[in-house]
Amino acid sequence: MKSLKNHISLIVALFTVLFSVQIYVAVDRTIAAYEDRLKQDYSIIVVSNKNLSQAEFKALDKLVERSEPIATDQVLERLKGEMSKKNLELLKVTLPKFYRLYLSRFPTPYEIEMLQKRLQKHSAIERVEGYAQTHDTVYKLMLLFKDVVQIFSIAIAAVTSLLILKEMRLWQFQHAERMSIMALFGAPVWLRSAVLFRLAIVDAIIATIVMCLAFFVIDQYGWMDQLLRTVGISIQLFDFVNDAIRSLAIALGVSIVLTLTIVIGHDEEE
């Protein structure tokens, strides 16, 4: 019973670390998906007095992913009845070229300002217009949420690491006698502390399984998915293979490093 209690203490602490990391990863993933959506909604209209190629736009700023000429035929078609053919031909020649620029990612306000300045410096470009959808507030809130989650994750990781260290000091106390006796018979350090490492590894595996199951349930249950759909995002919150591997690596890393700390700090009984 006592041993089970010791196991549960470490498993819960490791689970908390893994859960907070996974929450951070999920928020990061959500924001990345949202940024991708915003990027598609964001475009810049450029008015130029001569034809400009995509390469020319890209050379101006690496933020430009591609350019697309806006056809003027429809506008001219509507004017057909109101203007003479000669004037229409003249207008067709003198009409500036319109381009829609698509960006490689969602820009910051500073980046968009710099991009517009660079475009305006071009001798052929007469006008630049940016059209952003009204996502800015939601996006800024999401970024704020990400920062808050990050701070909480770091704080939780620090506190739980201290708890794990304390728990392992208890283990050390429980195993000190056995380790000292083994030392008296010439057991090397790895053999003396094998039980501690075995316990730490088993608990790390259990904590990872519990965390994976928890996120699998959250992912499968659907309410989170529904919530994300309301802001137009559809993502996989939990990537079973990659996230499980990362979580296992974190759990094993934390528990093995802390076990090593305990083993190195163990004084042999005289």
Binding site: E177, I181, A183, F185, G186, P188, L191, E270
Partner: protein
């Protein structure tokens, strides 16, 4: 005759405290039976501890089993301890391990296979008359039985040297007799060197032995 233990001007103390053993010079032949006696606090247990490397010499030289004990490395000390059997007054058995596994400890450390270890442990538990207790845990046994287990553990890996710190100090007459018989048997049959720290040399001892007495921090050999 080969020397298992050589001490030259050996001084021992705990950290920077008062010297407990001062400038001791003695040697112990391989295959001999040695008693170290002295009053309580005379330093006999301290001397024994220095023989298994729990205390480093403060001054002088100490060589055990051909290994210099001065500034000995951990790996060298572990190597030496794998060739020594130690018996303590308080048994030092691992409580959460069965009797069988306790006896097996030196064999596990030395890397013997399960088959070899199992056979050896069964044989030794037979010798100490505890074969029927193999699956029990130390707290389930009496003091005498626990010391017999400790004795079996000390013999398990056929050590070159057995160090015993008041092995019968807490035991009844029957258990004491069993322990002395086992130590005598190891000495006469296996030619194992035995060093016993004790208050009194038992009158029933049937092997020739050497006697060192510690008084005022000095080790004297008594003829």
């Amino acid at each position: 005759m080969d020397k298992v233990i050589i001490a030259e001007n050996l001084s021992l103390s705990y950290k920077d405290f008062e010297t407990i053993i001062s400038k001791a010079t003695f040697s112990i032949d391989a295959g001999s039976f040695v008693f170290i006696t002295g009053a309580s606090g005379s330093g006999k247990s301290t001397l024994l501890k220095s023989l298994y490397g729990a205390i480093e010499p403060r001054a002088g030289q100490l060589v055990v089993g051909g290994v210099k004990m001065n500034r000995i490395s951990t790996s060298r000390l572990n190597f030496l301890r794998r060739h020594i059997g130690i018996v303590f007054q308080d048994y030092k058995l691992i409580k959460e391990w069965t009797i069988e596994k306790n006896v097996m400890l030196p064999l596990i450390i030395s890397g013997y296979t399960k088959d070899v270890s199992g056979t050896q442990v069964q044989k030794l538990l037979g010798h100490v008359k505890l074969i029927h207790q193999a699956g029990k845990y130390p707290p389930e046994l009496s003091g005498g039985e626990q010391q017999r287990v400790a004795m079996a553990r000390a013999l398990a890996h056929n050590p070159i040297l057995i160090l015993a710190d008041e092995p019968t100090g807490n035991l009844d007459e029957y258990s004491s007799e069993v322990i002395w018989n086992l130590l005598e048997g190891a000495n006469t049959q296996l030619k194992t060197t035995i060093v016993v720290v004790t208050h009194h040399i038992p009158s029933s001892i049937n092997v020739p032995y050497k006697h060192f007495h510690i008084e005022m921090g000095t080790v004297h050999e008594i003829a």
